[in-house]
């Protein structure tokens, strides 16, 4: 029983971390209809920026913010390549993803893994030390839950603002945005910055959980995030009171649960990426099955 609870806690904790990224990919893939592959590069970017800063003694929450900004910067490069230089969406993402490989190595100082054991992280820093023992045991899941809820509420609020409406309209019908006297290209770049910022934030949190950053951590993140978004929105889209951001988070939790169950059933870990690809394929196929009536890309 305790092992089960422990596993459930791990699944939820990881689901919340990947939920941050899933919300980012929800913005790029669902709202902007942009299949953004740079996610595979911006996830480890967030991890490495965080590790480098924490090693340098920077406040871990500030390191999170720096990771978010670094991811946003990389995301806007993807956007610029696509919008200003008319490179296809897929290729723009691949270019940034490839470039990030070097950028992360530059940040870590050429090492593939940058460790920062026993340095303050968001799980140990400041008020965390004063948590009562009962809660301190569960500090990882508590911090992740706090972060994911905070980001979700902020994103929900943002999407309901005037600029948020503009962002949703851009993916829906960019000609409409032109008619409103706005440049949809700029809005697209902003959306990609937002999506990759959240992805890098997820990378940052995951790095702090393990107290190390791995330049290879990004492999398969596009697949994981897309699967989370698609699973979440296709399973829960009939639940009218759930916002799409919540669906993305729940999707990430479910996805992590599937992987965890498979591992518990004895799947060798090196089969994991294969399983991830299979799960996304199944999600994509079932989505086609579900899709009836009009598309609801920009529902939030």
């Amino acid at each position: 029983m305790t092992t089960f609870l422990g596993l459930a806690e791990t699944v939820l904790r990881d689901g919340f971390i990947y939920g941050l990224m899933a919300m980012g990919v929800f913005v790029t893939y669902k709202i902007l209809d942009f299949p953004d592959l740079s996610v595979d590069g911006t996830f480890p970017l967030g991890a490495c920026v965080t590790a480098a800063l924490i090693c340098a003694g920077v406040n871990p929450w500030l390191a999170c913010l720096a990771a978010l900004l670094a991811g946003a910067l990389a995301g806007s490069v993807t956007g610029l390549l696509h919008v200003k230089f008319h490179i296809t969406d897929l290729l723009s993402g691949i270019l940034v993803m490839t470039a990030m490989w070097s950028v992360t190595l530059i940040i870590t100082g050429k090492s593939a893994i940058l460790q920062f054991f026993n340095k303050p992280t968001i799980f140990t820093y400041g008020p965390m030390q004063h948590l009562p023992q009962v809660l301190y045991q569960h500090r990882h899941i508590l911090v992740c839950l706090l972060l994911v809820v905070l980001v979700k509420l902020l994103l929900d609020w943002f999407l309901s603002t005037k600029y948020g409406l503009l962002l949703r309209g851009t993916g829906d019908n960019s000609q409409y945005i032109v008619s409103l006297g706005r440049d949809p290209g700029t809005i697209k770049i902003f959306g990609l910055a937002l999506g990759n910022g959240l992805t890098a934030l997820a990378g940052s949190v995951l790095a702090q959980l393990g107290e190390n950053a791995d330049v290879n951590a990004g492999k398969g993140m596009v697949v994981l995030a897309l699967a989370s978004v698609i699973i979440g929105t296709s399973i829960f889209h009939r639940v009218s009171f759930l916002k799409a951001t919540t669906m993305a988070i729940l999707g990430a939790v479910l996805y992590k649960a599937c992987l965890q169950i498979a591992l518990q059933l004895g799947l060798p870990p090196h089969y994991l990426k294969l399983l991830m690809a299979v799960l996304l394929t199944v999600a994509l196929l079932s989505q086609r099955f579900y899709k009836k009536g009009g598309t609801m890309n920009a529902r939030t």
């Binding site: 600029y163 409406l165 829906d172 000609q175 032109v178 008619s179 006297g181 920009a298």
Partner: protein, 264 residues
């Protein structure tokens, strides 16, 4: 018609070639001139490929010129990108889905349109205090949309969407309304209704408009100037009293003569 020295839109020495330096190179406009005077409601007719829609695309900036200049109220807008010109121009497309966002609700679509020309910041996207105004605007359409403001536009019919698009494009003050075969994709009844609404809105808001249509009856019945395009030139251009003399048969006759010339 009000007296103005400057026309609202002036197009000078327009040159536009499609597929340049290829075997399918077509020179559509060669030193073409066109003006729109404030208060005009122009109907533009002509066969496919005559340059009607290209004319609109050049005015709106969806296509760039190969030569010549375009002025709006005397200001050179030749190099101005489409989204900037849109501040002065309202446009309704042939495809009803182009004028609205399908996944956003009617209310959200109207809220976006209402904010045209202002900054899109972080204040609430849908302002509750404007609700009554939106409803009153929807009532003008007489389609009962005022009771469906929370529905996504994607579930509406083509005719309803086009009526909404028409309303949206004229909701904020504009200098010019561009109607790009905006009834062509609709069934006859919706088409009549949209034309009726167009005329009503144009009169009430005193809008200068240019409408491309394949419906010669609309071209005769509505507006105060009729233009027939053919291979990048205006073969008919009649305004005011002159325009009133034109019947559908007259237009059809010229249309057929041109077609025979072209060997169609």
């Amino acid at each position: 018609m009000p007296e103005h020295n400057l026309p609202l839109v002036r197009m000078e020495h327009i040159v536009k070639t499609f597929h340049p330096r290829t075997v399918s190179e077509t020179e559509l406009f060669r030193d073409f001139f066109f003006s729109i005077v404030e208060g005009e409601f122009i109907s533009v007719v002509g066969s496919n490929g005559s340059g009607k829609t290209t004319l609109l695309n050049l005015i709106c900036g969806s296509l760039s010129l190969d030569g010549g200049s375009i002025f709006l109220r005397g200001k050179d807008i030749t190099k101005m990108p489409e989204y900037r010109r849109a501040a002065h121009i309202g446009r309704v497309f042939q495809d009803p889905s182009k004028g609205t966002c399908p996944s956003l609700t009617i209310l959200e679509n109207l809220s976006l349109a209402d904010n045209k020309g202002k900054s899109f910041g972080l204040s609430r996207g849908v302002e509750k205090k404007r609700l009554d105004f939106y409803k009153s605007q929807l009532e003008l359409l007489q389609l009962g949309l005022e009771d469906k403001i929370h529905l996504p536009v994607g579930v509406l019919s083509g005719g309803q969407r086009q009526a909404l698009a028409l309303l949206i494009s004229t909701m904020t003050p504009i200098d010019l309304l561009v109607l790009d075969e905006h009834t062509a994709a609709l069934d006859p009844k919706s088409s009549e209704n949209i034309m009726y609404l167009t005329d009503k809105l144009v009169r009430e808001k005193k809008l200068t408009s240019i409408m491309v249509t394949h419906n010669l009856r609309y071209a005769v019945e509505y507006g105060n100037r009729v233009v027939m395009m053919h291979s990048g030139t205006a073969v008919i251009d009649a305004a005011g009293e002159d325009k009133k003399k034109y019947t559908v048969d007259d237009l059809l006759k010229v249309f057929n003569e041109i077609s025979i010339e072209c060997g169609n």
